[in-house]
Structures are given as C-alpha cells and as structure tokens.
C-alpha cells in the first residue's frame, strides 16, 4: 500500500509538472497572438490614414518639437510617403502604393496569427488531457499508473545468454534408456547415455560374454537360463552384423525399443538391439551371424536391399501365414494397420513397402560400409542352404513354433511397439547364424517361424552352415529349450 501511495504521489506530481509545461506553451502562444493582433490593428489604422491623407493638399498640425514641445505646422506632400521596406531599405511612394505595401504586410501578419492559433489549440487540447488525467489519478483510486521497475541486473544479464543445453536424450525413451543414435553420427546424440568409446567397450564386453555363454550353452543346452543366454547371445551375435544397420535405422526412424521383459525372443532382440543401438558405428565388429529360429517360417526369397551388397529376404506368403497363425492363437488384437510386433520377425513386416501389389522390401538406410563385409550372393546361397536345412527342423518344430508364439504372447507384458528396423528383421529372419563356429548346433534350433523375414546374408554364413550341418543334433536353440521346458 505504501508503494501504491507513493506511486500515487508521484503520479500527480508528474502530471502536474507536465500540465505546467503545456500551460506555459499555451500562454506563450497567447502572448504572441496578442502581439500580432496588435500589429494587425496598427496596420489597419495606417491603411485608413493613408486612405484619407491625400484628401487634402495641406494639413495644419501641431508638429512635435522634441519630446515635450509642439509647434504648429503644416503637412504637405500628402501623397508622398516614404515606406520602410525593411533591412534599412526605404521607398518613396504614393499613398496608394503605400497602402498596397501595407496590405502585403498584413498578409504576413495574418499568416503568423493563424499558425499561432493552431498551436494554441493543440496545446489547449493537451492541457485538457493532462488535467483530466490529473483528476483521475488524484480522485479515484481505480486508475493506477502501472510502473515496472527495471533492475539493472536484468539489463546486464541480457548480454550473457545461457545457451540451451544440448539435447542429451532422444525423444523416444518409452521403455529403453539406451541412446538411439543415428548411424550418420547424429550430433544431437553427442551427449548420449553412452559415449562412442564407452559403447565400443561395452560391445567388447558383450562379445566376450557371448562367447563364454555359448560355450556354456554347448555344454548344457537344456538349462533354461543357459538357453536364454545362448539365444540372447546368439541373437546378439547375429545382431552384431547388422549393428551398423540398426543404429542408422534407429536414428532415423526413432523407434522405441521393444520391452526387455520376459519374452525371450524379444529379449534376445532387445539385448542385441541395445548393444547395437549403443554402438553407433560398430561396423568393424559386425560379424555375419544369422540366427535361425526353428519356429519361424522360412521366408520367401524376396531380396531387400539393406545395404550396398546385402539384401533382405521377405516373403508375403510367410507373412500371411504368420498372421493367420497369430490370429488363430487368439491374438486377435493385431490391428491390420498396426502390425503388432511380438517377435523380432515382425519388424521386417513393417518395413516392406507395397509396390504394385507386391511387397517390396525397403531400401536399407544403413551406411554402405556397414555392409562391406557382407557378401550378397554368396551368403544368400548359404542362407538358402541353411534355410533348407532349417526348414526340416521347422517342420518338426512347427508345434513348438506355435507354442513359442503363445509363449511370446504370454510373456510379453507390455504391448510391443513397432520396431522399424529392417536390421532387426535381419536378426530374426528365418536363419540365424552363430558367430562362433563352435556353436553351430544352436543354429538349426534357433530358426523362428518369421513370415517373410528377409535374411541379410552374413559373411561367415558358409562356415556356420557347415558347422551347423556337422552338429545338428547337439545344439538346440535357446528358444526351443525354453519351450520344451515349458511344455514339461
């Protein structure tokens, strides 16, 4: 209230001061107007005198003789008038000419008077406004002059602008807390959760872990945990190759990660993905493993260009089969538009464009160098061989595949979000080739019935295939092992 009162006090003072100034201007104008009016009246009198002067030839007048005396005299040459033109210039002219001059001067006076009148009017209006304002401020309390004090600190801080902090985290972080950096080296992912170097180190760790786990799996594949580990490790291995693909796709697509929860397949995928997502440019380490899941449907050979020398394989028929199977299982909530992803293979389905009625796989957004090591044709053949081999297994494990799907559906707690990564599809295509040549036995069992999941041919596919053929009986996929255990 004190401040308000103070503001009120200041306010009328300021207003009164303002009003005073305006009044001064008005009074000055008024004085000038008076002056010019007088001049004008003088000129009029002069004109009148000039008009009457030539009436007589002589006038008897009392001539001023000094300041105090007069003398009788006569006024002659009544028509001759010497006019002061200005600036010490004189002109002798007749009375009539003089009156003309006077008339001319009167014009000037009139112009000056008009200008002064205008000024007076303006300032009188201003005075009225200020008076009104003064009255309002003094009398009524409703009108308060809003004064905002500007502190000097604010002015100073303007110069120092704090830059916006760089976006440390990507926008899509629904479930996963990993940094999905684009393969192109997104600048915004600079301050990501894991720096590039850290990611590389992490990748190394995971690889070593994988190898250890694979060895363990070989020894005891019946164990659930080991099976899970192997599947995860195998998936990780398999995913290492398309690691280059994944980050690129991730960065661009911005897909949220699959929940890393109970679903084993998805965990495998997620583990692999997380690792790959964390590795922006893990191209050098990309091996060429392919994971074959037994319950996955062998995809038709539709090549998808996922890189410079690689192609994914997509099959529409398999996709439909998969969908039918899913629907039959009671998973009817799969929206046709929103392909529910419950398996890694589902990812591939999403990223296949429909061109001319046919499903054309999308061009890979991965860097070309990410696929340098991969050999398209050779690996495709090998993958076909593998697929042929796995197909036999898949037939055997068709029931398992159904159960696996059911398992997946049960295990998957949260609805899987679309994983727009052809690279991921690759991980869970019909065939998964283990990186470690010592784990070929797992390959045939790891085939997933993924409808139309293209497989990116891997570099070591041939070796793995051979190894797979050698030891088909020993290895069992983790998924299969899990399923068997669940059945039990």
């Amino acid at each position: 209230m004190a401040e308000r009162n103070e503001s009120k006090k200041l306010h009328p003072q300021e207003v009164s001061r303002f009003r005073e100034e305006q009044v001064k201007v008005v009074t000055g104008c008024q004085d000038q107007i008076q002056h010019w009016k007088k001049v004008q009246s003088d000129y009029e009198a002069l004109q009148q005198r000039l008009s009457t002067l030539p009436d007589k030839l002589l006038y008897d007048i009392m001539v001023p003789f000094g300041p105090l005396a007069f003398m009788p005299g006569k006024l002659v040459h009544t028509n001759e008038v010497t006019v002061l033109l200005g600036d010490n210039w004189f002109a002798k002219c007749s009375a009539k000419q003089a009156s003309n001059l006077v008339e001319h001067r009167k014009k000037h006076v009139k112009n000056a008077l008009d200008d002064l009148h205008k000024v007076v009017k303006n300032f009188e209006a201003r005075v009225g406004f200020t008076e009104d304002l003064e009255k309002r401020s003094s009398e009524k309390g409703d009108f308060v002059d809003i004064i905002e004090e500007v502190e000097n600190e604010e002015i100073l801080t303007k110069g120092k602008r704090t830059a916006h902090k760089p976006c440390s985290r990507p926008k899509n972080q629904d479930v996963f807390d990993t940094n999905f950096e684009g393969g192109e080296g997104d600048p915004k992912a600079t301050s990501g959760i894991l720096t590039e170097e850290e990611l590389w180190a992490r990748l190394d760790e995971l690889e070593t872990q994988e190898e250890l786990l694979d060895q363990k799996d070989r020894m005891s594949y019946n164990a659930d945990t080991n099976g899970d580990d192997t599947t995860s490790s195998s998936s990780e291995e398999e995913n290492e190759h398309p690691s280059g693909n994944l980050p690129c796709l991730l960065g661009e697509e911005g897909w949220p990660p699959v929940t890393q929860e109970d679903s084993r397949l998805i965990t495998c995928q997620v583990n692999g993905n997380s690792r790959h997502h964390s590795d922006d440019e893990d191209d050098e380490r990309s091996c060429v493993p392919t994971i074959y899941f037994t319950h996955t449907v062998e995809p038709k050979r539709v090549r998808i260009n996922t890189g410079r020398n690689t192609t994914l394989k997509f099959s529409e028929r398999k996709e439909e089969a998969k969908r039918k199977r899913k629907n039959s299982n009671g998973n009817g909530h799969s929206v046709p538009g929103l392909t529910k992803i419950k398996m890694p293979a589902d990812l591939y389905r999403l990223f296949v464009d429909v061109v001319n009625g046919e499903l054309v796989p999308r061009k890979s957004i991965l860097k070309s160098r990410s696929r340098e090591d991969s050999m398209c044709s050779d690996t495709s053949e090998s993958s076909d061989d593998r697929r042929g081999f796995c197909r036999n297994l898949s037939h055997d494990e068709s029931t398992h595949s159904d159960t696996s799907e059911g398992v997946l559906q049960e295990e998957e707690n949260s609805p899987s979000k679309p994983l727009p990564l052809p690279g991921l599809f690759e991980a869970f295509s019909g065939t998964v080739v283990e990186k470690d040549p010592t784990l070929p036995s797992l390959i045939p069992h790891l085939t997933i019935v993924s409808p139309a999941l293209p497989t990116i041919p891997e570099r070591k596919a041939e070796e793995v295939v051979l190894q797979v053929q050698k030891e088909p009986s020993k290895r069992m996929s983790k998924f299969k092992a899990a399923r068997m255990q669940q059945q039990i």
């Binding site: 033109l85 200005g86 010490n88 210039w89 002109a91 000419q97 003309n100 001319h104 000037h108």
Partner: protein, 100 residues
C-alpha cells in the same frame, strides 16, 4: 543557434522587402539608409541587392546548420566516450569492493 535564428529573421525580412520592391513601380524612389543618410537607389539595383543579400543569408544559414550537425555529432561522440568511461569507472568501483 542564436545566429541561426538571427539569420532566419533577416531572411524573412529580406523576403518581405523583395516582395514589396516588386510591388513598387520604377517611379518610386528607393533609398537605402546608410548610417544616418538616405542614399538614393535604383529600383532594379535595389532589387538585385536585396536578392544577393537573401542568397548570402541562405548560404550562411546552411553553413550554420552543417556546423550544428557536426557539433551534435561531436557531442554524441563525447557522450559515448563519457558513458564508457563512467561504465568502466563503475566496474572498477564494483571490483574494488569485491576484492577488498
């Protein structure tokens, strides 16, 4: 500023004289007051003289205006310098107590 105003007054006066001279006829005798003597002048000559006087006044006014602009610029520069010095002084004042 005062000179400018004086010149402006002379300007207006001479303008009026010129106009009135135009009103006059050659029959009229024009005198010029030089000191306390009225010197007879020719009308045309008077007109010319007044015209030249006007031009001189205009030129002087322009010169005064340019001078005024220059003076204003100088004053602004000085003000800026002064402001900078004051700012530095304040900074130093601020630093000194902090240091102490």
């Amino acid at each position: 500023m005062l000179r400018v105003s004086e010149h402006e007054a002379q300007l207006t006066e001479n303008n009026i004289v010129k106009e009135e001279l135009h009103l006059l006829v050659s029959q009229n005798l024009v005198y010029k007051l030089i000191g306390s003597v009225l010197v007879k002048q020719d009308l045309e000559e008077a007109k010319g003289t007044v015209g030249k006087r006007l031009e001189n006044i205009n030129g002087e006014i322009k010169q005064y205006e340019t001078q005024m602009k220059e003076m204003e610029k100088r004053s602004e520069r000085h003000r800026e310098v002064l402001a900078g010095l004051q700012h530095e002084y304040q900074k130093s004042q601020g630093k000194v107590p902090v240091k102490v």
